[in-house]
């Protein structure tokens, strides 16, 4: 059993969906920092995805720093990113811009979008 779930949607690359699901799981606390991350093989079998894809997921998450590989222990979830808030916020630049563009296209004003953001934010447990 995996410590997180993935609901596959058609049309999107599998690799991206799984990567996103992992990140979401970390954000919701389903995957705690320092906890063991399943092996590539387990990932592939449980999710019924191509082992190559599973490998790619783990590799890219490791490259991004979301997962850490400890020789002898295995793969673990990395502790939350360090660095200044400003730096970390800059990582989300593209996503934020995209969000704003879409919101404007849909005709939402600034307040509505901020409310929506807050609503989603509260779904997740508080930061420690």
């Amino acid at each position: 059993m995996l410590p997180f779930t993935v609901v596959f949607r058609p049309g999107e690359p599998v690799y991206e969906q799984v990567t996103y699901a992992v990140k979401k799981a970390i954000a919701t606390g389903q995957l705690a920092p320092g906890s063991r991350f399943p092996a590539v093989r387990t990932l592939s079998q449980e999710l019924r995805i191509n082992p190559n894809t599973a490998h790619k997921v783990v590799a890219s998450l490791t490259a991004e720093g979301v997962l850490l590989v400890h020789p002898g222990i295995g793969t673990v979830v990395a502790p939350p990113a360090s660095g200044s808030a400003a730096d970390r916020a800059a990582l989300l630049n593209d996503e934020l811009e995209r969000l704003v563009v879409e919101a404007r296209r849909l005709g939402l004003d600034e307040e509505k979008i901020l409310n929506a953001v807050r609503a989603h934010w509260r779904k997740f447990p508080k930061e420690t």
Binding site: F8, R9, P10, G11, E12, P13, V14, Y15, R41, S44, Q45, L47, R48, I49, N50, P51, N52, T53
Partner: protein, 306 residues
């Protein structure tokens, strides 16, 4: 290293061409889904690759060796499961495994036992007395147990109930046991089963390979589009490139399939043509993409690129 290479491979049965001048390269370690309508030549292609049929012209190579000169030892790393294979009817599953085991140096008996349990196959009933699903599972079992480098499956899911299909996929996923690349070539109508597993997709119709690209790229460029306007819409002329299956169920509604969707532009390009209308874009499963391709081929008699 390519697991499979085809160079102008052709095969005709009498006057009827089954495979026409096919060029294909499948790198090692890929999961390749071969799609196509009935009679497209998928089975013929797979049989040509494994020297079950000889080509009328052209060449093919499997794991680096010419198909037509595959020796017995070369098959130690190749697995082949097809519907309609003549399994030895009188052998039980246990006898079949016992017979195959000494033939393969890479045989993993532990895996065989585990898979037999997973597939829930009775060990002492003759294969002739097993149901179709169990036979396919037995065939798969006798192929997976030696962890072949190349696994070829020809319509393995035909007529199997979802539970069996599930077991199948599960078995396939058990295959990689070490770091050697394992190549899968699966031909199927039933693409949804292997949607998540496929790296590359090839679409075969009329004996020709019309589409060959990574699954993600294929999924990336196909979208269904629905445009709802508050007045009557006209189809732009000339028809924009990549638009297919344009339907107009109501004067102000247009539905179409876009085959060259650019994710970074999003729907903005379409939106620009129909200012003031609502544009809804949806991704498609590989199965739906297959249907579009098949219909296009049927309609165009093999012409036209998609």
């Amino acid at each position: 290293m390519n697991a499979i290479e085809c160079e102008n491979l052709s095969r005709s049965f009498g006057r009827v061409p089954a495979v026409q001048e096919l060029n294909l390269e499948i790198p090692a370690g890929t999961f390749f889904a071969l799609l196509g309508p009935n009679g497209a030549g998928k089975s013929t292609l797979l049989k040509l690759l494994l020297n079950l049929l000889r080509p009328t012209s052209g060449k093919s190579r499997v794991l680096g060796r010419e198909s037509t000169s595959l020796k017995a030892a070369d098959f130690r790393g190749i697995g082949y499961v097809a519907d309609g294979q003549d399994l030895p009817e009188w052998m039980t599953v246990t006898q079949l495994l016992g017979f195959c085991r000494p033939l393969y140096p890479t045989w993993d008996q532990g895996l065989a036992v585990r898979l037999q349990g997973l597939f829930d196959l009775p060990g002492d009933r003759p294969i002739g007395k097993l149901s179709r699903g169990m036979r396919m599972k037995a065939a798969l079992l006798s192929n997976l147990s030696y962890r072949p480098e190349l696994m070829v499956l020809d319509e393995p899911f035909g007529g199997l109930d979802p539970l069996v299909r599930d077991d199948f996929i599960q078995g396939l996923l058990e295959l990689p046991g070490d770091d050697r690349p394992r190549t899968f070539v699966v031909s199927s109508h039933d693409i949804d089963e292997v949607e998540r597993l496929a790296d590359d997709v090839g679409f075969l119709a009329g004996g020709r390979l019309l589409v060959h690209e990574p699954a993600d790229a294929l999924r990336g460029r196909f979208r269904t589009v629905e445009i709802v306007g508050n007045q009557a819409l006209t189809v732009p002329s000339p028809i924009p490139p990549g638009w297919a299956e344009i339907k107009q169920p109501a004067p102000n509604v247009l539905q179409l399939v876009c085959t060259s969707f650019d994710a970074s532009l999003g729907a903005s390009e379409i939106q620009a043509r129909f200012p003031g209308s609502g544009v809804a874009v949806q991704a498609m499963t590989l199965g739906e993409i297959f249907l579009v391709l098949a219909r296009a081929h049927r309609g165009s008699d093999g012409k036209g690129a998609l």
